[in-house]
C-alpha cells in the first residue's frame, strides 16, 4: 500500500495520580475472612435460599439477589479449578523458577480463590487435583496467612 507516515510530531508527558481517589468499600466479608485466618480458619457467607457458599462472603446472594449473613466455615483443602504456570514477570522477563498459580475451589465453598501451588513439578499439575493450604507460622489476619497450597 502506498501510505507512508508523515514526520514525527512532538510528544508531551502527562500523568494522572490514581492514589488521590477515595473508594468506599463495604468489606464485611473480607474482614470476616481475615479475622478467621488469624486462627488458621476460612470463613465465608452462605445463602439460605440457594445454599451457595461465597468466600469471601458478599452481603447479598449474587444468584438470588437477597441479603445474606449466615457465616460458615469451609475447609482449607480443595480442588484445582484451573491453573497457569507463570514463566515471565510483569515486565515480560523470564523468571528463574516457574510458579504455579491456581484457582482453587475449597471444600465447602462454591467460589474459586487464587493461590500458589508448591511441592510439585509444574508438569504434573492437573485440573481437578486435590490440594491443601500451608499456613504461615504466625498468622496476622491477612490474605498472605495462607502461604501456598501443596498436593493433598
Amino acid at each position: 500500500m502506498a501510505f507512508e507516515m508523515g514526520p514525527e510530531t512532538r510528544q508531551v508527558q502527562g500523568t494522572w495520580d490514581v492514589t488521590t481517589y477515595r473508594y468506599k468499600i463495604e468489606g464485611k466479608g473480607m474482614k470476616l475472612l481475615c479475622d478467621a485466618m488469624k486462627e488458621k480458619k476460612i470463613r465465608g457467607i452462605r445463602c439460605n435460599e440457594c445454599r451457595t457458599v461465597y468466600v469471601p462472603g458478599p452481603t447479598f446472594c449474587r444468584k438470588c439477589h437477597i441479603d445474606i449473613d449466615e457465616v460458615v466455615e469451609v475447609k482449607d483443602t480443595g480442588e484445582v479449578g484451573t491453573f497457569a504456570v507463570l514463566m515471565a514477570d510483569m515486565r515480560g522477563n523470564p523468571v528463574d523458577t516457574e510458579r504455579v498459580s491456581a484457582q482453587i475451589k475449597l471444600d465447602g465453598a462454591d467460589t474459586w480463590l487464587g493461590g500458589t501451588i508448591e511441592g510439585i513439578d509444574w508438569h504434573d499439575v492437573k485440573i481437578g487435583m486435590r490440594v491443601k493450604a500451608v499456613w504461615a507460622d504466625n498468622p496476622e489476619g491477612k490474605l498472605s496467612d495462607i502461604d501456598h497450597f501443596e498436593p493433598a
Binding site: M1, I25, T82, L86, A88, R99, T116, D145, I146
Partner: protein
C-alpha cells in the same frame, strides 16, 4: 423495527503500534474521511454519530467532544459508548438501534484506539481499582504472587487460566493454539489493514517464549493505533445511497458475573464457560431467522485477544459442537478457503486498536458480503450470513452481530 444495513466502512490507512505523525483526533478523522470516500456521502447525509473507545486507556474523558469537528459532528447528536473490549460492536449496535427504531435514517459509528499514547495496564487496572486496592490492603501480594489471591501476569495471567480450562474440557492440545495462531497471522499477512502482517508458521510461534503456560508470547495480540468507521442506514436510504450493502439481521449482547477479578466477593464462574456467548448467539440467530447456524453461517470474525479463544468461541457460539473446533482446524475447515473461514482478517489477535477491535469484526463481515475486501483475504465462496463477535469486560461480556446478504423478512 426497520431493517438496517451497513452501507460503507472506513479504516485508517494503517493499523500499527505507533502513529507518531498524527494526534488522536487527526487519526480518527482519517477513518471518517475514508468512510465518506468509500460511500460517496458527505457530512450532510449523516443524522447522528455514535463514538466508542476504551475509558482511561489514553486518559481522556470526553474524546468524542474533543473530536467533534474531526468526526463532522457539529449540529448533530453524538454519544460515546464504552463497554470494554466489546466497545466497537456496542458502538455499531447503538447506531443500529437509532436507525431500527426510526429515530434516524443514516448514522455513523466511529471507533478507535491510539494505544501508543496511553497505558493499557493502567487502563486494565482501572477496571478493578477499588477491589485491587482493598486486596492489597488485606495482604494480597500483587507482584510476587504468594498467599491467597496472589496475582501476577496481568491480562495474560487471567487468559492463561481460561486457556488451561478450555484445553482440559475440549481435548484440544497446546499445539492447536500454536496452529490457530499461525493460521491467523498468515491470514493477517494478506490484509493491508492488519497490524502484524508476517507469514507465520507453527514453528515460528513455537519459537516464542512462554509468558504463562499454556500461553506463549506468540499467542497474544499486539497493541495498535487505528480507527474504524461504519455508516449504517435504513432500508429505504440504503437502497438510494449504495449499490452493495450488508444487512444487520441479528444483534444481541449478554453479560454474566465477572469471571475474573471479582476479588473481594468470591469468583463463581469458570472463565472458560462463557455462557453469555451461548445466550447472545442464540438470540441473534433467532432474530436473523437462522435455524441451523452450523450450516447457515458462512464465516466468522471472532474477538480473540489470545489465540486459544478462536477455538473456544466457535464452540461457545454454537458454530460447532463442544470439543470439535480443534478438529475443524486440523482438517482445514477454518482456512479462508475452508467451510467456516474464521478470522480471515487475522482477528484481534493480529490487530488490536481496542476500541475499534469489536467494530472490525462486523466491518470485515460486511466487506466480505459486499465482496469489497482490499487485499488477498476475500473468502472465495459466496457469503450469505456472517457472525461477528465481541468480548470483554471482566471476561464476561459478549456481543454478537449477524450480517447477511439479504434484509430480514418481515414477520
Amino acid at each position: 423495527m426497520r431493517n438496517v444495513a451497513i452501507i460503507g466502512v472506513g479504516y485508517t490507512p494503517v493499523f500499527v503500534s505507533k502513529r507518531k505523525d498524527v494526534n488522536i483526533v487527526e487519526m480518527i478523522s482519517e477513518a471518517v474521511d475514508a468512510a465518506f470516500r468509500n460511500t460517496n456521502l458527505t457530512p450532510e447525509d449523516i443524522d447522528s454519530i455514535t463514538f466508542g473507545n476504551m475509558q482511561t486507556f489514553e486518559g481522556l474523558n470526553l474524546p468524542h467532544l474533543w473530536a467533534s469537528e474531526h468526526i463532522r459532528a457539529l449540529d448533530k447528536p453524538t454519544i460515546r459508548i464504552s463497554t470494554g473490549g466489546t466497545t466497537g460492536m456496542s458502538t455499531l449496535q447503538a447506531a443500529y438501534y437509532q436507525v431500527a427504531s426510526g429515530l434516524h435514517d443514516v448514522v455513523m459509528a466511529v471507533t478507535w484506539e491510539k494505544q501508543s499514547e496511553g497505558d493499557s495496564q493502567v487502563g486494565l487496572t482501572g477496571i478493578v481499582m477499588p477491589e485491587a486496592m482493598v486486596m492489597i490492603q488485606h495482604g494480597m501480594d500483587l507482584f510476587g504472587g504468594r498467599g491467597m489471591a496472589g496475582m501476577g501476569g496481568g491480562s495474560t495471567g487471567a487468559a492463561s487460566y481460561q486457556a488451561m480450562s478450555y484445553l482440559h474440557h475440549s481435548g484440544a492440545s497446546p499445539e492447536h493454539i500454536d496452529k490457530m495462531a499461525a493460521l491467523e497471522r498468515t491470514n493477517a499477512s494478506k490484509n493491508p489493514y492488519a497490524h502484524l502482517r508476517k507469514v507465520t508458521t507453527v514453528e515460528d510461534i513455537q519459537a516464542t517464549p512462554f509468558i504463562s503456560w499454556p500461553l506463549r508470547y506468540g499467542h497474544t495480540c499486539p497493541t495498535s493505533d487505528g480507527a474504524t468507521v461504519a455508516i449504517v442506514a435504513s432500508e429505504e436510504k440504503a437502497k438510494k445511497l449504495a449499490d452493495q450493502v450488508a444487512w444487520i439481521t441479528g444483534v444481541a449482547s449478554c453479560t454474566s458475573d465477572p469471571t475474573t477479578a471479582n476479588l473481594i466477593e468470591g469468583q463463581l464462574t469458570d472463565s472458560a464457560e462463557q455462557q453469555p456467548a451461548r445466550i447472545a448467539s442464540e438470540k441473534a440467530f433467532a432474530m436473523a431467522g437462522i435455524k441451523n447456524p452450523k450450516k447457515e453461517i458462512d464465516m466468522a470474525e471472532l474477538y480473540n485477544g489470545f489465540a486459544h479463544q478462536s477455538l473456544m468461541w466457535l464452540e461457545k457460539l454454537g458454530l460447532c459442537k463442544e470439543g470439535e473446533a480443534h478438529k475443524m482446524l486440523d482438517k482445514g475447515a477454518l482456512d479462508i478457503e475452508g467451510e467456516l473461514p474464521t478470522n480471515a482478517s487475522g482477528g484481534v489477535f493480529s490487530t488490536n486498536a481496542i476500541g475499534a477491535s469489536a467494530m472490525n469484526r462486523p466491518a470485515e463481515c460486511a466487506l466480505q458480503i459486499m465482496r469489497k475486501i482490499e487485499g488477498e483475504h476475500q473468502i472465495p465462496k459466496k457469503v450469505r450470513n456472517a457472525l461477528a463477535h465481541g468480548w470483554g469486560g471482566l471476561f464476561q461480556y459478549v456481543t454478537v452481530v449477524i450480517l447477511s446478504d439479504e434484509p430480514r423478512k418481515a414477520k
